[in-house]
Amino acid sequence: MVEQGTLNPKVEGSSPSWPILTMKNYTFIEHTADIGIRLKAKTLKELFKNTALAIFEIMAQKKPSAVNRQPQVKKIILKQKAQDLDELFINWLNELLSLSSAKGLIFYDFKIHKLDKNSLEAEAYGENINTYKVNTEIKAATYHALRIEDKGDFWQAEVIFDV
């Protein structure tokens, strides 16, 4: 474990669709070739959302020149089905990575409307990738050493990304 990442806590712009991000933490897990992270969250929905937020924070930061500009928000509706929670989690993250690449978007907020271990319905809010400085390409989330655990009063996930 090396360092803490903090998701952008600041809210810029005044559009009503611009989300309020709360401060969340994740830690990096040492992995020789790829990037692994560990997260905690109060609920499963929050765990799904925070992992997605972490991915895009690792990938890109908003360009200083774009920080105070009114964002051009693009909303995408996602529906995912899976046999179990692990598969749902990986499918959710990989669908976001795929959409980000195909549509040229960086996602900065998510609303998860429905989530059980076999299905998910959510909205992802993205901005044009040109308003971001992209640091790292994350190719995909993997099942390797994946752990999603209900710890009683919180949920914890460990996931390794191919970079």
């Binding site: 090396v2 040492e30 070739a33 795929s98 690449s101 040229g104 992209v134 790292t136 390797h144 994946l146």
Partner: protein
């Protein structure tokens, strides 16, 4: 760093170590790691050996689950993994044995230039090439293609670029599979993959991908150097790239479908990322057809990149690339699955050979080689990190016998990206490289640090092992002069 791996590694000889199949119930064959004692210490430091054992569970696996000396911890199989399944006996194919960046690979060009002739032009060349070659995450290319053309690329591979005037027939002869695998089926590719791939032809990408101007600094085999037309001090160029978002999407699409195949075909593997299907099942065939599309996309991509490099040199020197002798030596894939014939238990057997971070290294006279390389054996190109060396090797008969005609693919990481980012100062690193005569241009400073020499094993040690083990033979060594990173 993680705990030291405590499993068994029995010494076979100075360069091979066995994980016996008795290590874990479910292993069908032994694991064999190619390494010397020094490299083995690093290899034990992460979970790569456990991954070698996990691959031994794959249905239909023959001989052994192999790992090359640049092995490091990946997902599913380790990076540096080579394994083959008997497709006549329910042998499987797995996207995890290829990786997300399908047909990530390297090509090496020679030139007529000697270092002394162009040493003052290296910086100009790097700046011109950095302008011409789109690099970085999600970079888009100047070579724009329609959807119809994209489908053609998936079938024709590098031939598409040659027909467009971006290369020659000779380039195709000097490319693994002549630049395209037969049987690519564009209908096996999702619309999302098309969407991700359409703007990325002729782009370098990011991460460990690079374009390098190099000088040959050591010859190992004069006869082979003569065959390849290579001399000490000669300038070479290396291009390392893959299938970009197109390949990632195919891997993602088919990993999704193959997760369900584990239940459907009653396959037990210790890591879900090893999701697979029998090669001859509908899912296995569909993945292989789609994988070929991505492989062909990547060969076309590297062909387009080489075209841009030739153009860049023409711009700087004002003479044609032919006059500068910018001929392709060879292009190799190091993330791929192939159907090949190899001898198993003294019988010729048709296998699905997976190479994930490993290079094909066919020996002399192999039918897959073009006439010009029948005598030498297949050229094998091994990129190192940006501060040390790269190599040209050739394949050997011993590789055919021991490793399904395979060898290492590079240096292999030894330090995580996060650890590299934390411990390395980019400005100091750039100064150190400059002092060694290496100019680096990158689309972001983050990549330079993540890819710093300290994050990698010494490629010289890795190549020593494959040479001494006899699974490939050293021809010559290059050192970098100018590097463009994505």
């Amino acid at each position: 760093m993680s705990d030291i791996w405590q499993g068994p590694l029995e010494k076979i000889d100075d360069y091979r170590w066995r994980i016996p199949k008795s290590y874990k119930a479910g292993m069908r064959v032994d694991g064999i790691i190619y390494a010397d004692e020094k490299l083995l210490k690093d290899i034990r430091k992460d979970k790569a050996p456990e991954q070698v054992a996990n691959v031994a569970f794959m249905p239909g696996i023959v001989k052994a689950s192999l790992a090359m000396p640049d092995i490091h911890w990946g997902y599913g199989p380790s990076i540096g993994a080579v394994f083959a399944t008997d497709i006549s006996k329910d042998g499987i194919i797995t996207p995890a044995g290829v990786g997300f960046d399908i047909n990530c690979g390297v090509r090496l060009l020679k030139t007529n230039f000697q270092y002394d002739e162009i040493k003052d032009k290296i910086e100009d060349l790097i700046y011109v090439l950095f302008d011409m070659v789109p690099a970085g995450v999600g970079s888009k290319g100047e070579i724009r293609v329609s959807e119809k053309e994209e489908r053609e690329i998936l079938i024709k591979g590098a031939r598409w670029a040659v027909e467009k005037g971006y290369g020659t027939e000779e380039d195709l002869e000097c490319t693994e599979e002549y630049g395209a695998m037969e049987g690519a089926d564009p209908l096996a590719v999702s619309s999302r993959a098309y969407e991700r791939g359409k703007a990325q032809s002729g782009t370098l990408g990011s991460g460990n991908h690079f374009l390098e101007i190099q000088v040959i600094d050591q010859l190992y085999n004069q006869e082979l150097c003569d065959e390849f037309g290579l001399t000490l001090g000669q300038i070479t160029i290396m291009i390392h790239s893959g299938s970009r978002g197109f390949g990632y999407q195919i891997c993602d699409d088919y990993t999704r479908s193959m997760i369900h195949c584990l239940t459907k075909y009653n396959i037990h593997v210790p890591d879900r990322q090893l999701a697979c299907a029998p090669f001859n099942s509908p899912e296995g065939k569909a993945y292989f057809s789609a994988m070929k599309c991505a492989a062909n996309y990547a060969w076309n991509n590297r062909q387009c990149l080489m075209y841009l490099v030739r153009k860049g040199f023409e711009k700087v020197f004002g003479i044609s690339w032919e006059k500068m002798g910018m001929y392709l030596i060879y292009d190799v894939a190091h993330n791929i699955a192939k159907i090949e014939k190899h001898t198993v238990n003294a019988k010729e057997t048709t296998l699905c050979v997976h190479r994930k971070g490993a290079t094909r290294a066919f020996g002399p006279q192999h039918p897959a080689l073009p006439p010009r390389y029948k005598k030498t054996g297949q050229p094998v190109i091994i990129p190192g990190d940006m501060g040390r060396n790269s190599y040209l090797l050739v394949g050997t008969q011993k590789a055919m016998e021991e490793t399904f005609g395979s060898t290492c693919h590079g240096a292999g990481r030894v330090k995580s990206r996060t650890a590299a980012t934390k411990s390395i100062n980019v400005d100091i690193l750039l100064k150190e490289l400059k002092a060694k005569g290496i100019i680096v241009k990158a689309s972001g400073k983050g990549t330079i640090v993540e890819e710093a020499p300290q994050a990698y094993k010494d490629v010289n040690e890795v190549v020593d092992v494959v040479h001494n083990a006899g699974i490939s033979k050293r021809v010559c060594r290059m050192r970098p002069l100018g590097v463009i990173k994505g």
